[in-house]
């Protein structure tokens, strides 16, 4: 009896012990799309694009939402209003004949400065075809009454009367993410101008954010609007690259930000192996 009990006990102990840790993944079909020397455009792997109802947590909906964010900032952003995506609630994607892909999104966006949220319905169209064509976006944003209007016009007035020495300010002003409070409106302007570029450059295979407003300078102008020159560094998440852009843009409280000239800069730094310093 005792022996049998011991055996039963031993078996039960074994069963309740450390769970199996399966090691190798299912032996796969050798992945045919992987050629060691190719530079995989993410598009190649994603030939079958998500269609129909989208999972709001998955990247197709999240990337499209980011494009909506850039669009909203170009239209509604100001030195005192910066918009961010908060949550994607639902989405839908479909092919449009041979011309491109259409998205429909329901999301919540956030005024980053006042931390107020609102829902937003958006429609996007990513055109197919040669070369980089910017996506088309339709989305509305409710400009609730905040004191941002007053602050914007005060700020504009301040800049018109005194072309402050903005040259060579790096924003955030140090590598630790610190920005002086009175520099924040300039940082926001840099982000807004960058939003034009981020919007233009976006595809279903990119996710852009501003990594750094490297430099922003106010220029003298006879016009009513204010004029700026800036150099920003964009982070493209999918490739993980940092892309430098120079922009000439105007801003007025009435007209918002308008990018007049933009130029992508080559990143010479990376291409030079120099003697290492220790």
């Amino acid at each position: 009896e005792i022996m049998r009990l011991v055996v039963v006990l031993a078996v039960l102990m074994g069963v309740s012990g450390i769970p199996d840790v399966t090691i190798s993944p299912p032996t796969a079909s050798a992945d045919t799309s992987a050629h060691p020397n190719s530079i995989p455009e993410t598009g190649a792997e994603e030939d079958v694009m998500a269609t129909g109802e989208l999972n709001p947590n998955h990247y197709p909906a999240r990337r499209a939402a980011q494009v909506v964010q850039h669009y909203l900032n170009t239209r509604y952003g100001s030195p005192f209003r910066l918009i961010g995506v908060q949550t994607v609630h639902s989405g839908n994607a479909e092919d449009v004949a041979d011309s491109g892909r259409k998205y429909q999104l329901e999301l919540s966006v956030n005024d980053i400065i006042t931390n107020t949220t609102q829902t937003c319905s958006a429609e996007l169209f990513f055109p197919k075809g040669k070369g980089q064509q910017p996506p088309e976006v339709k989305a509305l944003y409710q400009k609730y009454k905040t004191n941002q209007t007053l602050m914007s016009s005060d700020f504009a007035q301040q800049l018109r009367s005194d072309i402050s020495t903005l040259s060579n300010s790096k924003l955030p002003s140090d590598s630790h993410g610190h920005i002086e409070p009175d520099m924040k409106p300039f940082w926001h302007l840099g982000i807004l101008a960058s939003s034009f570029i981020m919007l233009n450059e976006s595809t279903e295979n990119t996710l852009y954010n501003v990594a750094q407003v490297a430099n922003i300078t106010q220029l003298t102008t006879e016009e009513d609007h204010l004029e700026f020159d800036c150099h920003t560094l964009l982070h493209e998440m999918v490739s993980q690259e940092i892309i430098h852009w120079k922009m000439l843009f105007t801003w007025s409280p009435a007209e918002g930000v308008k990018v007049v000239q933009m130029k992508r800069l080559p990143h010479r730094h990376e291409r030079e192996k120099s003697p290492k310093t220790n």
Partner: protein
């Protein structure tokens, strides 16, 4: 003359005083250069000699020691392990800040928290505050280097750029997806799997004792994500459901701290496909619970997260990591023990009943 002596004495005293005060007040809510992190590691050993040791397990390309802190109570028994590494990518400064915070936190809580004390008895924590040391130091050089990602090895001879992406260099579906073979690219995976000394240090150290590891956490920024293996879209981890359940539990724990949303999923679903990551390699070794944490923020400041966000980020990430660690621990320790105990008692009771009847 006496005045001079007196002054020197006062200066000496205040210097000693300052040194003592400084030592007691390492600022976990500021970013620290590598030299300060190295001193801090030594100080942790001095302050907790019975629980903390430094283990050097490799050298970077520029010949710096790669070290971790091994933290646990000495029981003389064979122990299991938890792995955490920070700073595989040089520009992700919030990650090393979190590793330091994590160490401080477990060392503070185990003396008063019974659960942490239990875990410290059963498990050793292996924490590498900065894995890509050369890269991290490079990002501190000047403002133009701040956004460097890769290590600082020179790459192939015909290459005009430095660096390999360490998180594409591990032997896990190496070189298949999410990489670029342009050696100037930020996702350049190296010349072959584990070609980079920093990656090789991890694979040698963990690989030689993989059976002791219950859990492998690798800390990055930004994006507010908890990623589960695998990065390759054609592969699913055998315990995917468990990983998702535990990951979601961690995200919920994070949300409870400061209301921040972290999305949980496999990388090809929620972010992008990739290969050669440390997390995938660890899972393929059989370590059951492997996760990548992408900390704050969502893109507003991206890599240059302001110092006033270090504390809340670390607090929430600690909560999330602890959820996973506790699960991993309990699965092996309390869980099995409890099950076995219940089993044993029910058998003994049954035996007692039948025995009585038989006799």
């Amino acid at each position: 003359m006496l005045d001079c002596v007196g002054m020197s004495f006062v200066l000496l005293l205040s210097a000693v005083g300052a040194a003592t005060v400084e030592r007691a007040q390492y600022d976990y809510y500021k970013y620290h250069p590598m030299s300060e992190i190295t001193s801090w590691m030594e100080q942790m050993v001095k302050d907790h000699p019975d629980v903390v040791t430094v283990v050097k397990y490799g050298k970077t390309y520029e010949s710096r020691d790669i070290s971790l802190l091994k933290i646990g109570l000495n029981t003389g028994k064979e122990k299991k392990a938890i792995w955490m590494d920070c700073g595989i990518h040089a520009r992700e400064w919030i990650a090393p800040a979190f590793c330091q915070y994590f160490v401080r936190e477990i060392l503070q809580t185990y003396k008063t928290d019974a659960k942490m004390e239990e875990m410290m008895k059963n498990v050793d924590f292996y924490v590498t505050p900065v894995l890509n040391i050369d890269g991290y130091i490079y990002t501190w050089e000047n403002k133009t280097t701040r956004l460097w990602r890769k290590n600082r090895s020179p790459g192939p001879e015909d290459c005009s750029c430095y660096g390999t992406d360490l998180n594409r260099n591990f032997d896990a579906n190496w070189g298949t997806v999410g990489v670029s073979f342009d050696c100037c690219s930020n996702t350049y995976p190296g010349t072959k799997p584990a070609s980079e000394p920093e990656a090789k240090a991890v694979t040698d150290f963990v690989g030689s004792q993989k059976d002791i590891f219950l859990c492998f956490l690798t800390i990055h920024s930004y994006g507010q994500l908890i990623l589960v293996p695998y990065g390759h879209p054609n592969y699913t981890a055998p315990n995917y459901n468990e990983l998702m359940m535990v990951g979601k539990g961690a995200a919920e724990a994070i949300w409870k701290v400061h209301g921040m949303n972290y999305t949980v999923g496999a990388s090809p679903d929620v972010l992008y496909a990739n290969s050669g990551s440390s997390r995938d390699w660890a899972r393929m070794q059989g370590i059951p619970l492997t996760f990548t944490f992408e900390l704050r923020d969502n893109g507003t400041y991206s890599f240059e997260l302001p110092e006033d966000q270090i504390q809340p980020t670390c607090e929430e990430a600690y909560s999330g990591a602890l959820h996973i660690i506790t699960y991993a621990h309990d699965k092996t320790f309390s869980g099995a023990v409890a099950n076995a105990a219940v089993t044993l008692w029910s058998i003994l009771l049954a035996a007692g009943v039948t025995g009585a009847t038989l006799m």
